[in-house]
């Protein structure tokens, strides 16, 4: 509150000319930002995100929220900076929360195009990393993330893989290479659970080799 007042104050004194459309738009974005941001840090923090989500009528674990984060290129999970906010809303051509809400279905369609989705998928993993664990993410988070990101398009693969991840003991975390491996797996090994396109000699990450073996054992 304090910051904005100062900002406005300066503006009013210095420029006598009326605001341009662009300036008006940016102003408005910032106003909306401040509805959710934390005053001391000037970021939208987890609490603000909860509010935002409820206003947008999506849950925080909804894939559309994640897609929004992707559009913003948000770096830290649970936080949105000023810059990221502006970037995101500008890209969606949304000035208000309502407009933002309306833009979400179209956003989803666009993100689901193959070229975008691969990038989005990789982003989803990076987004889950933290400062303490910058290289890999624990199994439980991965399972949730898989469900969010791939659940609607590759339901059986996700269900099987999540089940496997929970019972196997070789890995406690998953890294980027393994994460991307699963995406490639879903796209290349089309017939599931027959998996006739799968060949163990190829360069699948070891966790996927073990996964397939486990399924085959179950089928036998």
């Amino acid at each position: 509150m304090f910051c904005i007042k100062r900002f406005c104050f300066v503006m009013t004194i210095v420029s006598a000319a009326p605001l341009t459309e662009l300036e008006k738009a940016v102003n408005h974005l910032i106003d909306v930002f401040h509805k959710y941001s934390n005053t001391s840090s000037n970021l939208i923090d987890p609490a603000g995100i909860e509010k935002l989500c409820s206003d947008l009528d999506v849950s925080r674990t909804d894939i559309r929220f994640l897609m929004l984060a992707w559009t913003m290129k948000a770096e830290k999970q649970g936080y949105i900076t000023h810059e990221e906010w502006t970037r995101g809303l500008k890209a969606l051509r949304a000035d208000t929360i309502d407009e933002l809400k309306k833009a979400l279905p179209q956003l989803e369609k666009e993100v689901r195009t193959p070229s975008n989705f691969a990038d989005f998928y990789a982003y989803a993993f990076r987004y889950s990393l933290t400062e303490e664990k910058p290289e890999s993410t624990d199994i439980e988070t991965i399972c949730q993330l898989l469900d969010t990101v791939m659940g609607s398009t590759f339901r059986p693969q996700v269900d099987y893989f999540v089940e496997y991840l929970k019972i196997q003991k070789d890995y406690k975390v998953i890294n980027m290479d393994q994460w991307m491996g699963f995406y490639r797996f879903c796209n290349e090994v089309i017939s599931f659970p027959d998996m006739s396109e799968y060949s163990p000699g190829l360069a699948w990450p070891l966790v996927l080799n073990n996964f397939v073996e486990w399924i085959r054992e179950k089928q036998a």
């Binding site: 290289e135 890294n175 290479d177 991307m180 000699g201 190829l202 360069a203 990450p205 070891l206 080799n209």
Partner: protein
């Protein structure tokens, strides 16, 4: 005689015909006087000669040539053929043979008469020679008519001979000559009209024999029959068949008798390959080799049968040892290596002897051994068993150099069959270390060197470099010790000190003793050596392994002083009792700084074992932390010097070795992958894995999953990356 008159053609022919009739009559009579009257001969010759040299238009050469053709044609068609056609069976052959001989004589005479034509007219016109004409006539008029029947009779005779009857070989030979000659310079007629049918007949003949014999005969009996059949067929060729038939005939016999029944024959239950090997039937096995060797791919089933048999024997040995181990007896495991070596020698004899050193059998032997030499017995891998075997071998005294060499040769061969070579190296190194450090008076340096040299020859220098380093270290240590002794003016601490300096890189890793509190005298020793060492070397760090030292301590017992041979730990514990008669466990451990496990072992050896140097309260069989120990002044023995042995620490040495080797393997795989990628820059996954396996195969058989894990690890560490376009290809990251 010079004639002036021209000979008219008809006139000449009359004369000629008379002569020909005369010839025919003579031949028909078959008297020994098959000669023509010289006067008549001359007259005929001259007549023809003149008819040829007469001037045109009385030059009758061409007409004479045609006349010749008519004569032979007529003879063949009107005389020879009818006679032959009248007969059957063997009589047919006889008649054919007879008529053939006559024809040859007939033609021969004619060629004398017509000699002038042969020498001048025919070459001039490039016509077929007289002989050619004659042969053609015989072929067309006689041969073509009778060859089918003749062929059938001949083949029937051959079959009769095969069944044991005697036949007129000369007759057959002569008849077959007709076939050959009818080819007019080629072997085609013989092949098409006779040989083809012979081969067919032979095939069905031996097929029948094979199916009967295989049922009735044992394997050796069958082989003897086959060998005999082959011999007879070859003999047949020599006596009356054309030589070109031999290889085809032999091929067919081999195919029917040996190839098609090979599996059945070799696997015969009581007499097949396996049984022969079991019963050491050297002759039969040699015969088997002889029979199958010339057949392309013929030896493969034999080599297979050999391999299966040897593998079965080996597996039986292994199973025996495994069962014994499961019942708690470890003796079988210890003698197992010796038994395997014996097995190897036994079957090598077969390979060299019966199987004539053939590569297939060397290979079969090797593969068989690889199958069972890699099985575990009672928790010990074959690598460990082999290392143990070497250990006992090298500790045995009294063996000659030759005996050791022979056994070592066998050991090295076995090593070749074991896939986990690196595991063997580690176990061997551990045992070697113990021998060198603790049993150095038992060590025979020549024998140790023989073993290492032979291993080196097979596995390469890098494999044995650490072992060699260890042996050299002992040598260097001895020399260094001499220098040290020479430098001393007085005994440090009043003790005879001997130090062995080891190169850390060569020796297995040992746990450093905790900061052991040495008695004052020993501290003086350590310092003395340290300063000497410092003068002789540059910037080297010494790590004292008190756990591995030995001490000779004189115990002043009441009855008599006795020299005790102890480990350093034992000595250090006893020295505490120089200052006081009684000590509690706690006091000992605090004063010395030994670990609990180590101290328990030491105290056990000194108070609860064979020699009671210390008295323990309470006098139980185990050490507890509340025990109190007292110097046993009453201790005595009949000997003047005794060794108080201490058992080695119960760390699971095997587990540690396996862990160490696993760790080394991980490094080896990493290095291998990076090396390959560095040179190839881009490589598909499958090729990377297979190249890795190939490069490492000398040392061990890498687990595919482990390689994959290392690849993924290297990706995380940014040595490799997946190709952006095809994620089954890797790129090297510089």
């Amino acid at each position: 005689m010079y004639r002036e008159t021209i000979i008219d053609f008809e006139q000449g022919c009359k004369c000629l015909e008379a002569g020909v009739s005369e010839l025919k009559r003579i031949l028909e009579e078959e008297t020994s006087e098959t000669r023509i009257d010289p006067k008549q001969y001359l007259e005929l010759y001259t007549t023809i000669y003149n008819m040829c040299i007469q001037k045109h238009p009385h030059d009758h050469s061409q007409r004479l040539y045609n006349k010749y053709h008519d004569i032979v044609e007529h003879y063949a068609k009107k005389t020879v053929l009818p006679c032959v056609q009248q007969k059957h069976d063997e009589y047919l052959l006889r008649e054919l043979s007879r008529r053939w001989d006559h024809y040859k004589v007939f033609v021969n005479w004619l060629s004398h008469f017509f000699n002038y034509l042969e020498r001048f007219f025919i070459p001039q016109r490039n016509y077929p020679s007289l002989l050619e004409v004659a042969m053609k006539s015989f072929r067309d008029r006689v041969y073509l008519e009778v060859q089918v029947n003749a062929k059938d009779v001949v083949i029937a005779l051959i079959d009769k001979e095969r069944e044991g009857a005697q036949i007129d070989r000369e007759l057959v030979k002569n008849v077959l000559n007709v076939f050959v000659q009818s080819g007019m310079g080629t072997i085609e007629k013989y092949k098409e009209d006779f040989e083809m049918f012979l081969l067919e007949d032979t095939e069905s003949y031996y097929a029948r024999k094979a199916s009967r014999w295989i049922q009735e005969c044992s394997c050796p009996e069958y082989m003897i029959k086959s060998e005999e059949s082959l011999r007879k067929e070859k003999e047949r060729v020599i006596h009356y068949l054309h030589s070109s038939t031999e290889c085809k005939l032999v091929e067919i016999v081999e195919k029917e008798l040996l190839v098609s029944v090979a599996k059945h024959l070799l696997e015969k239950e009581h007499s097949g390959c396996s049984a022969l090997l079991r019963d050491d039937k050297v002759d039969d096995l040699s015969r088997m080799y002889r029979l199958y060797h010339p057949i392309p791919k013929g030896l493969e089933p034999v080599a297979d049968a050999f391999r299966i048999h040897v593998a079965r024997e080996g597996n039986a040995l292994i199973k025996q040892a495994q069962d014994a181990a499961a019942n708690g007896s470890l003796v079988e495991a210890q003698v197992l290596v010796g038994k395997i070596i014996d097995l190897h020698e036994k079957y090598m004899v077969y390979v060299l002897d019966c199987f004539k050193n053939h590569t297939f059998f060397h290979k079969a032997l090797k593969e068989a051994f690889k199958v069972f030499c890699n099985k575990k017995v009672g928790g010990s891998s074959s690598a460990e068993l082999l290392a143990n075997f070497c250990d006992s071998l090298l500790k045995k005294s009294g063996k000659s150099d030759e005996a050791i060499e022979a056994t070592v040769d066998n050991v090295v061969k076995l090593l070749d069959y074991i896939s986990d070579n690196d595991l063997f190296a580690e176990f061997y190194r551990k045992k070697l270390a113990r021998r060198l450090l603790f049993d150095h008076h038992k060590v025979n340096k020549e024998h140790e060197t023989i073993m290492i040299t032979k291993i080196k020859r097979q596995q390469g220098g890098q494999y044995t470099s650490k072992m060699e380093g260890m042996v050299t270290d002992m040598q260097l240590a001895k020399e260094f010790q001499k220098g040290f002794k020479g430098s001393l003016t007085a005994k440090p601490g009043g003790i005879d000190l001997a130090v062995t300096v080891l190169n850390t890189g060569f020796w297995p890793s040992y746990k450093t003793s905790t900061d052991l509190n040495l008695p004052r005298e020993m501290v003086e020793c350590v310092e003395a050596f340290k300063s000497y060492y410092g003068t002789k070397t540059n910037q080297r760090k010494l790590r004292w392994l008190y756990s591995h030292g030995t001490c000779h301590v004189i115990g002043s017992f009441d009855p008599k002083p006795i020299e005790l041979v102890l480990s350093t730990y034992q000595a250090v514990v006893l020295c505490l009792f120089n200052n006081t008669e009684r000590l509690t466990y706690q006091e000992i451990i605090e004063q010395l700084n030994l670990s609990h496990e180590d101290l328990v072992r030491v105290l056990l050896s000194l108070s609860c074992a064979k020699y009671r140097i210390l008295n323990k309260e309470p006098a139980s069989k185990s050490i507890s932390t509340t025990d109190v120990f007292e110097f046993n002044s009453k201790f005595t023995s009949t000997m003047r010097r005794i060794k108080v042995s201490i058992p080695p620490p119960p760390i699971d040495e095997r587990k540690k070795v396996v862990e160490d080797v696993d760790q080394d393997r991980r490094y080896a795989i990493d290095a291998c992958i990076v090396r390959i990628m560095k040179s190839r820059k881009v490589l598909p996954h499958q090729q990377l894995v297979s190249q890795c396996v190939e490069q490492l195969s000398r040392m061990f058989k890498p687990d595919i999953k482990m390689i994959k894990k290392r690849i993924e690890d290297l990706i995380t560490r940014d040595y490799l990356e997946r190709d952006a376009k095809n994620h089954h290809i890797f790129n090297y990251v510089a």
